[in-house]
Amino acid sequence: MKAELSTLPKAAPREVSTAQAHVFEHVALPLVLGGHLEVGRPLGSKRIGAFEKAFRSPDQDRWGKFQLARQHVLRTLVPLDTIPEPSEREWVLLGALHDLCYASYPGLSSVFRSSRAPRILRVVQTIIDGAGYPTTVREAIETHTLFARVLEIGRPDTTVRWWTGSRIFRGTQPPQRLLAMPELRGVRVDRVQTKIDEIAEGSIRDPFFRALSGLVRASPITNLATFARTWPSFEWDPWLVGLFGVSEGRRIALRAVAASSTTSLFQILLPSAARVSESHKNHVLALLGERLVQEFLETEKIPSELRPLSRELSLSVRVAYPEVSNASPFGRKLELLLRSIEEHGPK
């Protein structure tokens, strides 16, 4: 059952403000600035539903850095100089992220608590579904400034081996007593960063990924910008298809995928767009054509991995620049690019 954001039960104001402050300090701030994303007590739908847009951290310095880092991300997409505070929807998503991460806590998977994580994940899924999609492109960009690095969350796992045993500490620091006398006890410490798509195990893996996928889709720009992820796999949703339908949206999309390689754009984005519809495929082709031409103008060569896709490459250039005169310097460059594609393409 999908519940709307406004229908979520509200908790008492005092614990809501405490919870929101916790979310800011331990989820929002590290999500934007980096650092430790600390999971505490699960928040639940009542508290998350009561999060207020008007919340501001009393620490002006930290609040300023938080907004500045968001501004930094914003400027990579649009030339705007101000970013508002997080909206109510964004606070809810942050709260949902907290509880999602909480559900991955290994300590929940005990004999007596085996059903807790799935129930928490169901609640999280409900909250995320209730948050829905952003209503405007501006809102989507602002949400992206918060969740741009959501898939970079990693859990530091520390394996401590000593002379009589070993233990893995997932997301926690091993106690000092285990690290004492390392030469005498033969202590060996191995630290591994486990990615977010690997932190859920067992029976909660599928619902965890469903919830994570829902969270990423709730920030469409983040969904697009991280299309090359292995898990959760990229899927076109109607919001993104609509974004590509307008030239300004394609501009923003081009900037959102600026960090991705042209090869991955052609190998991942294009085939999935073809499955949506012919017109959407043309829009994506136009985007990829622009990107290819940009890269060619800078490097004057085509990535070798793209050479087998000569047909798609030349089509994307023609769709992106249908009418360019050969008399202009830009037109001559395009001509050179198309000839290069044909020369190096498969025979």
Binding site: Y102, R116, G171
Partner: protein
Amino acid sequence: MLDRIAVQQTRIRVPGLGLDHKGVALGQRGVVLFASIERLVSFLSIYTRERSLADLMGGLELYTVRSKLGHSEILLSFLAESSDRMDRMAETARLAGGYTFTGTSRHFVQYRDAFAPFGYDTSNLLPADADWVLYHNHFTQAYGTEKSIDLKSLLLRLEPRVDPSTYETAGPLLIVAEPGVGGALIHYLVRSKVDAEVCVGEWPPESAFDEGPIRRTIFRIPDLPKRMRKLFFSTPGMSCFFPSTAFASVEAGFRHPVELRACPSFNEGHVFFRGKRDPLVLAKMPAMGKVDAFSRVSFRDGTMEATALPKADPEVVRVPLRLAPSGKPWRSVTATWIAPGDYDSLRKLAYALPPRVIRETQIAVTASGLVLRSTAGIEAIPLGTFYIEIHPSLFIPAGYEVVPSVSPEVLFRAIGAPRDIHVFVAHDSTAVGIEEAHFSPLETFLVEAKPLSQLSSEGLERTLSVEPIDLSFESVEVPLLHEADAAEELP
């Protein structure tokens, strides 16, 4: 009947006729016979359009001749000189309807034509004692001279034809003003500042009823303004003439049938050919004077006495220096005086000044304000009172000039300031001196050196650095089983 002279024929029967180097029969003189005076005028008109009569004037004679039958014709006689001249005359005479003959004394045979390229000869000479015996292919006629015609008189008798195009003729203009009009015209020209020369010509009385000679004022205007032309051409009492030669002029709106420039008949005095009246002939053109000399002169009432001062040492005349407003454009605005009230404006403006201006400007601080100087012009700093540099060391407010108008060097010496002092003369004519050494570059003066404070870069670094996001369960709280947690309850 005449005989055509053959090629290389050497013997000619007509007395006085010979062969020139071309083999053309030629006498000493040429004669052109015209049926009427009109044909003669046509001949002269045609001939003078392209050639001058000056070549012919030496032996040119015009006669009225009469045949035995009483028929009068006009005869033009001239020195033949060469067959070329004869050819030219024959062509023109043919066009004007005249017959051309050549001969020497009395017998003149028809000049060559297309039928007889070398001319004609005749063996049937007429035994007449007439003055002129003319042998033509179609006739042979003897004429007696009736009277001679003076070319100049003929030209004078010819009436100019109407030609309105002459009104547009450019160049000098001669005006003959009737008595009473001349004086007014003189003053008109003086008032209008038109360059002109004027003289007074006298003509004999036209009738016995006239009391004395007729005096007319003659003007020579080298370049009459266009706006005055219509007035002059249409004013009664004024006749405008365009000079054809130095001695002959034709009235505006008319043209003489004969090109007077080609007729050297007029070589003294001046002839004014009037359109509908007899020409005015001046035997001698009076000397002309500038029209300005004829403007009215008036004297002051009373007498003037120049009284010399008694001989004594002249008293030194001291003139207080004053500044008077001047309408002249501002030049060399190289300084400005900024009052203390404008210091804030200068501070704000300093942020907007381009580097070149700051580099080229010098500043001096005084008790009553700041003085800024720039040899390239101070307009880039639009504050304070602008000063004009009238001397390398002397400045006066812009929009003013010093009175009395002595030279700046003299003024500077009068002030008596040393050379390294820049003098600024204020509006109240007081002078303020500022030493050159007190001016310093604006760029060193402008920036306020604040003590350095250590910048805190910690926040900035932390904001923009990309740290990994580590999920930590250090603070995780797991509620007990019996605690009903809202986190696990579906809404």
